[in-house]
């Protein structure tokens, strides 16, 4: 084996060597064009999800039931904005600008996580989103800390540090409501009922139906498959639901001694693809809000640029 960086190695050989030996790929390293494209798509989709994800929660900031709840929710939404920034920054190292990424989002060329196309109807939804949506995101992101692309990996480490408060604040809301009045408990159960299935579908299609998983695993962009990550999430969430006396809305959910995992029911992939393809309850609203906010900020960006031009 020739040593790392020796002139005798081609770009491809060096890339393969690094992947094989769990070394990170860095922005200026040679990489296959498909590796770059895969990362640009996955990372920008991840960034867009953080940014669009502010909307369903922003919806409740002005209606939070206490000052404590309000400052917590504000801090959480601010974190999501920061996570979007970390991810855009990391994605930019692959040679596309933020303006290009934003344009792809607004023209529908790039996607974001479908979960944010569901409405947040009650305060209990703030609990369900933190507990389940952030919970599922954490499982995915913990795994991605070991991704082969250096900037993506470092962004994940930073995000994971901040994310655990998000899940805990959501679970606290659920626990409070589940132990509150019968109406409050019903609200909590209803939120769980609506968010459970979309949350476990956040991990994406079954491995067999996920055409890009092969390359992503080979290149170590993804370190665990959709189905493995989903199983991890379900296994740890079931017990959390039991602790607060809520029921996961899946009659087929049961412990499988032999596998050492929970078995669970069939997911509705028709609904999943329908929402991905733009027909969920809030797709249009979410995108339009982003476009409007962007347009309304145009004069600020222009003024700031003019000021910077003069004053550096």
């Amino acid at each position: 084996m020739s040593t790392l960086g020796e002139a005798t190695m081609t770009g491809q050989e060096l890339f393969d060597y690094k992947i094989e030996n769990d070394l990170k790929i860095e922005p200026k390293d040679w990489m296959p064009e498909d590796y770059r494209k895969h990362l640009q798509r996955q990372m920008s989709q991840h960034a867009h999800s953080e940014v669009i994800g502010m909307q369903p929660e922003g919806n409740w900031i002005l209606r939070a039931p206490s000052l404590r709840a309000k400052v917590i929710l504000l801090a959480k939404v601010q974190d999501e904005a920061g996570h979007g920034q970390y991810l855009y920054s990391a994605a930019e190292t692959l040679g596309k600008t933020r303006d290009e990424f934003i344009n792809e989002l607004q023209t529908g060329k790039a996607k974001y996580s479908s979960i944010f196309n569901y409405p947040t109807l009650t305060w209990a939804d703030m609990g369900a989103v933190g507990w389940l949506v952030d919970g599922a995101a954490i499982v995915n992101q913990v795994s991605l800390q070991r991704t082969s692309y250096g900037p993506y990996s470092r962004a994940m480490v930073k995000i994971c540090k901040e994310e655990s408060f998000h899940q805990r604040q959501g679970y606290e809301i659920m626990a409070q409501m589940a132990n509150g009045t019968p109406e409050q408990k019903e609200m909590a159960q209803d939120a769980l009922n609506r968010f459970w299935w979309p949350s476990i579908m956040m991990f994406g299609p079954h491995d067999g139906d996920s055409p890009r998983t092969g390359n992503a695993m080979k290149w170590k962009i993804k370190r665990e498959t959709n189905d493995d990550l989903r199983q991890q999430f379900i296994d740890k969430t079931v017990a959390q639901a039991e602790v607060i006396g809520l029921t996961i809305p899946d009659p087929d959910l049961k412990w499988n001694e032999e596998r050492g995992h929970y078995d669970f029911g069939k997911m509705d992939w028709d609904e999943f693809w329908n929402v991905v393809n733009g027909n969920g309850p809030c797709n249009k609203q979410r995108l339009q809000h982003h476009i409007d906010a962007h347009k309304n900020g145009s004069w600020v960006r222009k003024a700031a640029n003019a000021y910077a031009e003069k004053n550096g």
């Binding site: 200026k28 920034q85 930019e92 190292t93 640029n305 910077a308 004053n311």
Partner: protein, 108 residues
């Protein structure tokens, strides 16, 4: 000589854009070196410093920040890894272990 990233195309197409990329360095505690933590986008120095503060030191991560325009940073390239960083192992006399100390000499 080259910019840090794969392709430097951050320059604006129109006056309505996300500003420039600034790399951010944070000193965690007195006595430590400033360490690269990531980047932000901003229009001008003041905004760059403010954005870096909002983004990277929200949780007591540091006590001092530097921001540097990405386009002002020059980086070595991966192809040079061999020659540019050759440690020149043949010059063993540059290592402390090369020298023979007299028997019984201490604290040296």
């Amino acid at each position: 000589m080259d910019s840090i990233y794969y392709d430097k195309q951050f320059n604006k197409m129109s006056e309505d854009n996300q500003g420039q990329v600034w790399e951010v360095f944070v000193q965690a505690k007195p006595g430590l070196a400033h360490k690269h933590v990531g980047n932000i986008q901003a229009m001008g120095k003041e905004m760059a410093l403010q954005n870096a503060r909002d983004m990277y030191v929200r949780r007591k991560e540091g006590i001092s920040i530097w921001v540097v325009k990405l386009e002002d940073i020059v980086a070595s390239s991966p192809e040079e890894i061999g020659s540019f960083f050759d440690p020149m192992d043949d010059k063993a006399y540059r290592q402390a272990t090369y020298y023979k100390m007299p028997e019984g000499a201490k604290h040296i």
